[in-house]
């Protein structure tokens, strides 16, 4: 991340006369549309793979208009830490800039590294740049519009998005259409004060609404016993109790935890006395690496509350939401069986 981002050039501005890696200067390229694409110079297989998707998207968007003519376009793939990147204000960002024949910036987009390319953004860009067609089907090289040639470049520019930009924030919001809401920069996130009752203790904290209970526990309250496995509700490592029932803290917002009794693995033992499920896990060696164990124990402790005697098959079914990469399953089942009959 760069320390301070320079402001981006406004659309319609004439770009500075940057030097490109091959020694040419931007002003020497006037008379032809130019696409400048900034990316990390690290190889990224996901970007290569995505290029195919977007090429198809383009072909399907307007098969007729892409022509050989477009090949005359000058392309420059540039390092996002190059001198040119600095001059254009896109240091350290994936960015795509489209210059017209006069060296005027017609369209640009930048994205945060690591974010996904959204096909809808490519489409929105294409639609925004589509020139109004005359009756003959020729695009007018009108003063206000984009010339046919620039449009061709634009379609290419969009296909470069695939390689170079992961979408999210268009520096210049592309005109919205009915199906494609404008891509706006990430709004500043407000925090909200909340009060959580965890293991019988009251905690006051300030979090953004988007913070998961799991992250609030681990990052804000340093209750790191609750583990993050998949972060998507698929592994059970983050299991806690909400009002006495097992629940996934990764799919619960911290703000939604207000007013509920939250119990984590830290709150299970009574002082030095282990919870019976904890003791049984120790006795039966019901873990190897231990990463899934807090979640397994929380799920098991919630399960045995009803004092029902379950068969091994019923325990497996009830515990199927807790995955164990070390496959300590037989010992986990044994520990639970002992606890429920105790």
């Amino acid at each position: 991340m760069p320390d301070e981002l320079q402001p981006l050039l406004p659309t319609g501005a004439t770009v500075p006369n940057c030097e490109l890696p091959d020694g040419t200067r931007l002003h020497e390229l006037r008379g032809q549309p130019v696409v400048l694409a900034f990316a990390s110079i690290d190889w990224n297989p996901a970007q290569v793979y995505q290029s195919e998707i977007f090429t198809r998207l383009l072909q399907e968007f307007d098969a007729g208009i892409s022509s050989l003519e477009a090949r005359t376009t000058t392309w420059h793939s540039l390092d996002w830490h190059s001198e040119a990147a600095t001059q254009l204000g896109v240091t350290g960002q994936r960015a795509l800039l489209l210059l017209d024949e006069q060296g005027v910036l017609r369209w640009q987009t930048t994205v945060t590294p690591g974010q996904e390319i959204r096909p809808g953004q490519v489409l929105a860009a294409l639609e925004a740049l589509r020139p109004p067609m005359s009756v003959t089907g020729e695009a007018p090289a009108a003063a206000g519009g984009v010339s046919r040639r620039t449009f061709l470049t634009a379609t290419l520019a969009a296909s470069a998005l695939l390689l170079l930009v992961g979408a999210s924030t268009a520096a210049e919001p592309v005109a919205a259409t009915k199906n494609h809401p404008p891509m706006l920069p990430t709004p500043p996130a407000d925090t909200v004060p909340i009060t959580l009752t965890i293991n019988g203790k009251t905690h006051r904290l300030e979090v953004e609404p988007r913070v998961a209970l799991l992250d609030a526990l681990r990052e804000n309250l340093h209750l790191t016993g609750t583990k993050k496995g998949c972060d998507h509700g698929q592994c059970g490592a983050c299991t806690v109790h909400l009002d006495g029932q097992s629940a996934l803290s990764c799919l619960t917002l911290a703000v939604m935890g207000e007013g509920r009794q939250i119990t984590t693995i830290e709150g299970l033992a009574q002082g030095d006395d282990l919870h019976p499920v904890q003791a049984a896990f120790v006795k039966h060696d019901a873990f190897q690496c231990g990463y899934c164990t807090p979640g397994q124990i929380m799920a098991a402790a919630a399960l045995v509350q009803d004092k029902q005697k379950r068969s091994a098959a019923e325990i497996r079914e009830a515990m199927s939401g807790n995955l164990c990469r070390c496959a300590a399953y037989p010992n986990i089942i044994a520990a639970i069986q002992e606890t429920q009959t105790a």
Binding site: A46, Q50, I53, R56, L57, E60, Q115, E116, I117, R118, P119, G120, V122, L123, G166, N179, H180, P181, T186, P187, P188, A189, D190, V192, E208, P209, R210, A212, D231, H232, G233, G236, T239, L242, Q245, S246, A247, L248, L251, T252, L253, V255, M256, E258, G259, A299, A302, L303, A312, A313, E314, I315, R316, E317, A318, M319, S320, G321, N322
Partner: protein, 345 residues
């Protein structure tokens, strides 16, 4: 996750008004579908209105049937004695779905409205008409093993993932909603829609419409749910089938059959239902019904297996519901619903 505003609902009316007036606002109940998709950057609501505090958490008698409040958890509904005794298909569908933790969080209102599990929908890097209209359907020419064989369009071939919804469709449940235009009742089979050329729209609900309850009508027959999945537990259905059978002496008075995992909505098969009515249950009759049910199936490149699997599953569901073949486990449990057994037994 993209930032958003959060509001806790105080009354259904307030929740409806809050979502109806803000563009891009959404309800959240258990959050197991909504928050998952927000983490994947598939959904970016501007405002989340949390309906979990609303007093919609009771199961009560209603017009000879049962009213399941929208805030009732999947667990609470599944283990309710009246649900288990009178509508075992509902308990079976619920208990064969997701995991204990997720069932504790998930709600009657949220479950039928969960979004498709089409892997392309869940990946914002892929074109998907449901997520970003106009970008195309990656599944159509991609890997479409888990996709639809009925009612799909060239715009979208996704299936609806809910187990509960299949059982509710077979039982002709009613959905009570309250929205900006007042309250209305929707017959469950009309809640979801086919993709057509607007696959971004899963249901017939308008923005701001809140489900307040799911009503199970009075029903005295037998019902049953069967599900095939790729592992013994904790997986979505490849194909599933719910049957509701009402008898008249030895003859079938009315049969209702809904298939899951095969279409954009729970797929009722009226022609097969008509064939079954008035007849005596037999394997031969049931086989004929499965042929009728799958006659207009249109497989994609990788999912033709769903025709054979679906016919076999529907046959077995009919045999088990009618009693011609025993259930695989106690009625109303995941064991009855799971083809191939659960828990490695």
């Amino acid at each position: 996750m993209y930032p958003f505003q959060y509001q806790r609902a105080t009354t259904p009316e307030q929740a409806v008004a809050a979502v109806a007036k803000v563009s891009g606002a959404a309800f959240v109940a258990g959050g197991t579908s909504q928050l998952d998709l927000m983490k994947e950057d598939v959904l970016r609501p501007s405002l989340l209105v949390d309906v979990s505090p609303l007093p919609l958490k009771t199961i009560s008698a209603f017009e000879g049937g049962l009213r399941l409040g929208a805030g009732v958890s999947n667990t609470a509904a599944a283990i309710h004695p009246e649900v288990q005794a009178r509508y075992p298909a509902v308990s079976e569908a619920l208990l064969a779905g997701a995991s204990t933790q997720i069932r504790n969080m998930a709600s009657m209102g949220g479950n039928p409205l969960q979004r498709t599990r089409c892997p392309y929908f869940r990946d914002p890097a892929q074109p998907c008409n449901k997520r970003e209209p106009g970008t195309g359907c990656a599944a159509l020419k991609g890997l479409n093993r888990v996709h639809a064989i009925f009612g799909a369009s060239t715009a979208c071939v996704a299936t609806h993932p809910s187990d509960l919804a299949v059982a509710l469709a077979a039982l002709d449940a009613q959905v009570q909603v309250t929205g900006p235009g007042g309250t209305r009742t929707i017959a469950f089979p009309d809640l979801h829609r086919l993709p057509g050329d607007t696959p971004q729209q899963d249901t017939t609900l308008v923005p701001g419409e809140l489900i307040t309850s799911i009503d199970l009508p009075s029903f005295t027959g037998r019902s049953h749910y069967l599900k095939v999945r790729e592992r013994a537990s904790y997986a979505f259905a490849l194909v599933s089938c719910a049957v509701a059978l009402e008898m008249d002496g030895k003859k079938i008075r009315r049969a209702r059959v809904a298939l899951g995992g095969v279409a954009h909505k729970p797929w009722r098969v009226p022609a097969a239902e008509a064939l079954l009515a008035g007849k005596k249950p037999s394997e031969k009759l049931f086989r004929a019904a499965t042929e009728v049910a799958f006659a207009d199936a249109k497989p994609l490149e990788h999912n033709a297996y769903k025709l054979t699997m679906g016919r076999n599953l529907m046959l077995r569901a009919l045999l088990e519901t009618s009693g011609l073949q025993p259930l695989q486990g106690p009625a109303g449990t995941a064991f009855a619903a799971s083809v191939g057994g659960v828990g490695g037994e």
